[in-house]
């Protein structure tokens, strides 16, 4: 297989409401990624874009609208899409653009401007439910998270308090991130004292709605070695989509994340993920999701992630730092851009450039994961220094 490296990364601030238009946000992130690699747009062969539902930006065929903002003028351009999993998947898409031999460089840009949607971006989520059998019940997105979290907690016998520790860790980690929207020093008590949105989900266990964009620049081995002495290699990519009939599945465990993870691990030659991976950026739009996903990623035994969390294993200076960026809970959640932010974080961590967020011990390999649709999609990317 043709080797592919990440050679640049960049992102905007994640903010509740940005003055910039969706195109401008895309451009800021794309430019930052190009600048970080000291490369110009005319050195880019193709552009891959990721953005979640058109309902947020308020534009039909949003990918077409965003294309020039992403730098795709007169270039091959694809917009890929797997709901919330898009941000991490987009890199897999860019990976096979280059691995196929058709292109040598690919700019991968993810953007979301949720604040455009009124009266509240959450209302747009009504339209993700089955139009005939579910939408008439007026569901909101919190429902499915609460239903899944409740199932996870009751199957394994955990309390809300066990889960709340994720919020404390990630919001604290985010204090070191210059783009972060919600970094904070909190206690478990604070999290539990925040209002109940949809029991068992409290406000401080939910990531915010955000505006923002993030981008990476990918290159073939030949180009990568020419433009940087610190390429970070894409070692594995995996993605998997489960059945749309989510009420027919047991939600306590994400099979689709496990399958996506093994697809990526096989490609990366990883047999024992817990031993061979130094840091992880699992998808954490809600506090329990980080734990749920760590189990799917084979980085914690089934039902054991909350114990390992309590033991400090997932702290920045722990055995397996998770979400050292601050995650979606801390940095913010502009859907597709949030997944891409996790890939940016791996890039900076593996290059030792994460400053105050740097995990100790010179990590050599990391995994990022995102999730989406109706609790249905797992997308996984493994990156490493060799």
């Amino acid at each position: 297989m043709r080797r592919v490296a990440v050679v640049g990364a960049g992102m905007t601030k994640f903010i509740h409401r940005a003055l910039e238009t969706p195109k401008e946000l895309s451009w800021l992130a794309a430019k930052a990624a190009l600048d970080s690699a000291e490369m110009k747009l005319d050195q880019v062969d193709c552009v891959v874009e990721g953005t979640a539902p058109d309902a947020f930006d308020g534009v039909h065929m949003n990918g077409e609208y965003l294309s020039d903002g992403c730098g795709a003028w007169k270039k091959p351009y694809l917009r890929c899409y797997v709901g919330g999993g898009t941000g991490v998947y987009a890199l897999a898409q860019g990976w096979f653009h280059i691995a196929s031999g058709l292109f040598d460089t690919a700019l991968v840009v993810c953007e979301e401007k949720m604040s455009t949607c009124l009266p509240h971006p959450q209302a747009a989520f009504l339209t993700i439910f089955d139009n005939i059998t579910e939408q008439p019940l007026k569901p909101n997105l919190l429902w499915i998270f609460a239903l899944e979290m409740n199932r996870y907690m009751s199957v394994h016998g955990y309390s809300v308090e066990d889960i709340a520790k994720v919020s404390v860790k990630n919001k604290r980690n985010a204090l070191g991130h210059p783009s972060a929207q919600l970094g904070a020093e909190l206690t478990v008590k604070d999290v539990l004292a925040s209002e109940i949105m949809a029991w068992p989900v409290h406000r401080l266990m939910v990531s915010p709605t955000s505006d923002g964009a993030a981008a990476v620049l990918l290159a073939s081995e030949e180009v990568a070695k020419r433009v940087t002495n610190k390429p970070v290699w894409v070692q594995g990519v995996g993605w998997c989509l489960d059945s749309a009939y989510w009420t027919n599945r047991d939600l306590y465990y994400p099979d689709y994340v496990e399958k996506a993870a093994w697809m990526a691990y096989r490609m990366a030659g990883i047999r024992e993920p817990r031993k061979e991976i130094n840091l992880a950026e699992p998808y954490d739009p809600f506090a329990y999701k980080e734990l749920h996903h760590l189990e799917g990623l084979q980085l914690a035994p089934k039902g054991q992630a909350p114990r390992l969390l309590a033991d400090g294993v997932f702290d920045r200076d722990g055995d397996l730092p998770t979400c050292p960026s601050g995650g979606l809970l801390g940095v913010g959640n502009p859907i597709a851009a949030a997944g891409m932010m996790k890939l940016c974080e791996l890039f900076w961590q593996l290059r030792g450039e994460a400053g105050p967020r740097q995990v100790p011990g010179r990590p050599r390999r990391g995994v990022a994961q995102a999730w989406g649709d109706l609790m249905q999609v797992g997308t996984v990317v493994v990156m490493g220094v060799n």
Binding site: L66, K74, P76, Y81, G83, A99, S100, W239, L241, A244
Partner: protein, 390 residues
């Protein structure tokens, strides 16, 4: 390039003005079953799936949620592109060439009949800050473009009417077509203006339908049940989405995509080397604009109109164009449009096109455009023969 990619199976439903008895899932299931049967494989043998769909055309946000079950894709790698079916073919080719997978299924469908407010949806695609407040019907953008296109190339309105007549008439020989009609250029030229100089009769009407295409690596393709068709070239590109800064005369997105595909296929003289063309004709003038962008009339673009008048692009002409009936005759099936063109290419190249079979067709080209207000296009070149040097 590491390895050839072949199309080993196609499955499709007829394009129809409405499909009230099937849900989109049931349409997809039908097309998928046909495609896997055609390829002689089980759904379980497909390793990766691609759907091409736009949320607003389906009426569901994050539409990819609803795609896996009826394609046999549960707990498999699957993703969506919000683009034309030909972009999906390009995606599958890249997945296979990367060495990641060997068999990929690409799906696209249209349930356009379920959209009660199609022009308002299209309005929602127009730039929300600069253009939408002006309040024009977005199809008027085609009128703007056509006007300048005719002015710059010398192509006449009569020639454009003739495109519509040709394609509707071609559709009479295609059992998949939703809008076949025996028409002359006089008939279509008598249609009322929709957006001057564009007439209603020169705009494609939407249709429902679904296509699934199965692609495979060289090894798998040789072992397939049906005759494989080789993807000799693939290309895709965008021009500026911004109305204020785009090229209104030349279909740049198609020119760039075609050059990419020609380079890959080693084609230097498309008019001579390619036997027939299936190109986008959502608006009749677009067929001519796209043929020019494909490089068929390198010296004088106005030749596109004269070639049409001389019957060169008719099924019995030298370079048949839209033998299937095109979007005008077959129906505009939104994201599935490109895959219906692939269906025509495959049937022709296999010699299964029945009354519209072109004798001796060995290589065909399909081209797509995503409609107003976009500048997004893709090109695919298929052949029944492998490249001699591969």
């Amino acid at each position: 390039m590491n390895g050839r990619v072949g199309i080993i199976g196609i499955g499709y439903t007829a394009a129809q003005p409405t499909t009230p008895y099937s849900s989109f899932k049931e349409l997809m299931f039908e097309a998928a079953q046909r495609a896997y049967f055609d390829a002689g494989i089980d759904a379980a043998e497909v390793e990766s799936f691609v759907t091409c769909a736009e949320d607003l055309n389906t009426g569901l946000s994050i539409f990819d949620e609803y795609t896996p079950d009826q394609l046999g894709a549960v707990q498999k790698p699957m993703h969506t592109l919000t683009q034309d079916g030909l972009h999906g073919i390009a995606d599958a080719v890249m997945q296979i060439k990367s060495g990641l997978v060997e068999v990929v299924a690409v799906e696209a469908h249209s349930k356009a009949s379920n959209i009660l407010t199609p022009d308002w949806i299209l309005d929602y695609a127009v730039d929300p800050i600069f253009n939408r407040p002006l309040g024009f019907n977005p199809h008027a953008l085609a009128g703007l473009e056509m006007n300048l296109f005719l002015h710059e190339t010398g192509i006449t309105p009569q020639q454009v009417s003739q495109v519509a007549a040709k394609n509707r008439t071609n559709a009479l020989r295609n059992p998949l077509a939703a809008y076949p009609a025996r028409l002359t250029a006089d008939d279509t030229a008598a249609g009322p203006y929709a957006h001057y100089p564009l007439r209603e009769t020169e705009m494609a009407q939407t249709a429902d339908g679904c296509v699934v295409v199965v692609l495979a690596s060289d090894d798998k393709a040789r072992a397939a049940a049906s005759q494989p068709l080789w993807v000799r070239g693939i290309g895709f590109a965008n021009d500026s989405p911004t109305l204020e800064s785009r090229d209104w005369v030349h279909a740049e997105y198609t020119r760039i995509a075609a050059q990419m595909a020609y380079r890959m296929a080693g084609i230097t003289n498309p008019a001579r080397e390619i036997d027939f063309f299936e190109v986008d004709d959502t608006y009749a003038y677009k067929e001519l604009q796209h043929l020019i962008a494909l490089g068929l009339y390198p010296n004088r673009p106005g030749e596109a109109g004269r070639a049409l008048e001389q019957g060169l692009t008719r099924p019995d002409g030298k370079t048949p164009v839209n033998v299937s009936g095109g979007c005008l005759g077959l129906g505009w099936t939104l994201e599935a449009s490109g895959l219906y063109r692939i269906v025509e290419l495959v049937l022709q190249l296999r010699g299964q096109a029945g009354p519209r079979q072109l004798p001796g067709a060995k290589m065909g080209l399909a081209q797509s455009w995503r409609g107003v207000p976009t500048t997004s296009g893709a090109v695919a070149i298929l052949s029944s023969e492998q490249k001699p040097w591969e």
